[in-house]
Amino acid sequence: MIKFTEDHEWLSLDGDIVTVGITDHAQEQLGDIVFVELPEVGTQVSKGDEVVVIESVKAASDIVAPLDGEIVEINEGIIDVPGKVNEDAEGAAWFFKVKIDDESQLDEYMDETAYKDLIA
């Protein structure tokens, strides 16, 4: 299942693990990404916490945790090569994986059709 937030994050649920990244639309708006700061594995996050910092050639942006849970994995590859986010935002350039207790947290977010309407 894939869901989208109004902050242009995508959430992919697999068991109790949600993979989080930013949408292709978001990377396009940000422009060339030159720096990504990710949370530490093991961090407990609450919905709304600023967990990721993205710096593009234009400005710095925050990515907030879309869910309550524990960060269980981060994508080191995009720290080394931030430009990967511009190339494959909705694929290989995911940001972090968060382990959640309650799947119903995803209910409030948009499906792909609703998200496409939002950015249209």
């Binding site: 422009g31 060339d32 030159v34 720096f35 700061e37 910092v53 710096e55 050639v57 234009k58 400005a59 710095a60 931030p82």
Partner: protein
């Protein structure tokens, strides 16, 4: 976009090229094209980039004493400016602060041609008219201004007018298929290149002729900013303003001997006592200095980031005035002010980014050596 923004003669062309337009100094300007800031920056360094800088003010000073009159407002030697030569200058105030920075060229017809910043244009004109006596100040509103920058700029522009023989900071008028072009070999990217004043009604055709050439791509304000920052050049309003004097801004090199203590035309410009004393004396350790700053990490330290001498200090010693990622040097780059005692290259410093102290180093400017044609 606000209805009250002005448009340059190339506005329709920018839209046709897919530019993202933003308000800048009262104008609607292209910040980037679909290519994107990073590629636009790198293209300018490897081939040639075309910039619309028509928002900048173009002025002519006419009169037998124009050079001497202008010297009453700037600490530069204008009388010493040779025919068809151009020079970087700045207007100062009574405290020695910088009111605007500008380019001054002496044309073959004897007039002085000035290019000033868009945001300061109206104030500059008023300032000139108030102080220039018999010299006439003409604001040119029927000409666009373009910059063609990069190692292939000469190849491209020489297909239209013979610019090959021009030296750096030379300014010449060429007749062309696009009317008279006022060309200077200069720019604000650290690259060889040209700035070209062209009649408004010929500007789009001229720009299209350049853009059809394989070397030339359109470049927006985004890349213009990272290019000038890599070149260590000041952005008025960020790195210099009325609260910074030329010594603090490390622009003493732009004040010629003739205007300094003991020179032929010593002083007699606003703020002369402060500026000349600072130029002659040993540096005051507590006075602020503009420096280059390289963050250790990959994260940029942008405008407004506060600087600390030690990681745990409570009180900042300075501030970043411009900061970005430098695509050609492949690391973050910043300029800012620190006390002169901390201004030596190699000095370690801390910047507070999002509440965290991050290490950085004072470095020599420019970040990337200029490739001007001397």
């Amino acid at each position: 976009m606000g209805e009250n923004l002005e448009k340059t003669p190339l506005h329709a062309l920018h839209l046709e090229l897919g530019a993202r337009m933003v308000p800048f100094a009262g104008y609607e300007m292209p910040v980037q094209y679909p290519t994107g800031v990073m590629k636009e920056h790198l293209h300018t360094r490897t081939a040639a980039g075309l910039f619309d800088v028509s928002h900048m003010g173009q002025l002519l000073l006419e009169g037998d004493n124009a050079a001497l009159d202008l010297e009453r407002l700037v600490p530069q030697s204008i009388c010493g400016l040779g025919d068809r030569r151009q020079r970087y200058a700045f207007f100062t105030n009574e405290d020695g602060g910088i009111l605007d920075d500008l380019m001054v060229a002496r044309r073959a017809d004897g007039d002085l041609f000035l290019v000033v910043n868009a945001a300061c244009k109206a104030a500059d004109i008023a300032h000139l008219r108030r102080h220039l006596g018999a010299t006439t100040v003409i604001e040119i509103t029927d000409r666009a201004l373009l910059a063609l920058q990069g190692p292939a700029a000469e190849t491209a522009l020489s297909r239209i007018v013979p610019v090959e023989s021009m030296a750096f900071m030379e300014s010449t008028v060429f007749p062309s298929d696009f009317g008279n072009l006022w060309v200077s070999r200069s720019g604000y990217t650290g690259e060889d290149g040209f700035e070209i004043s062209v009649a408004c009604d010929r500007a789009e055709d001229f720009a299209r002729a350049l853009l059809e050439m394989p070397e030339v791509e359109p470049i927006g304000l985004g890349a213009r900013d990272s290019l000038r920052l890599e070149a260590g050049l000041c952005l008025y309003g960020n790195d210099i303003d009325a609260s910074t004097d030329p010594v603090q801004a490390d622009l003493g090199w732009a004040i010629q001997k003739a205007r300094r203590k003991g020179g032929d035309r010593e002083g007699k410009f606003p703020g002369d006592s402060v500026i000349l004393r600072k130029l002659a004396d040993a540096a005051d350790d507590a006075d602020k200095r503009r420096v280059g700053i390289r963050p250790d990490g990959r994260g940029p330290m942008r405008e407004g980031v506060q600087l600390f001498e030690n990681e745990a200090d409570d009180t900042p010693v300075g501030t970043i005035t411009s900061g970005a990622f430098g695509p050609s040097v492949d690391h973050p780059i910043s300029m800012g002010y620190v006390p002169a005692r901390l201004a030596h290259p190699g000095t370690r410093i801390w910047g507070e980014v999002r509440g965290k102290r991050q290490p950085a180093e004072i470095v020599r400017l420019p970040f990337r050596p200029a490739t001007y044609k001397r």
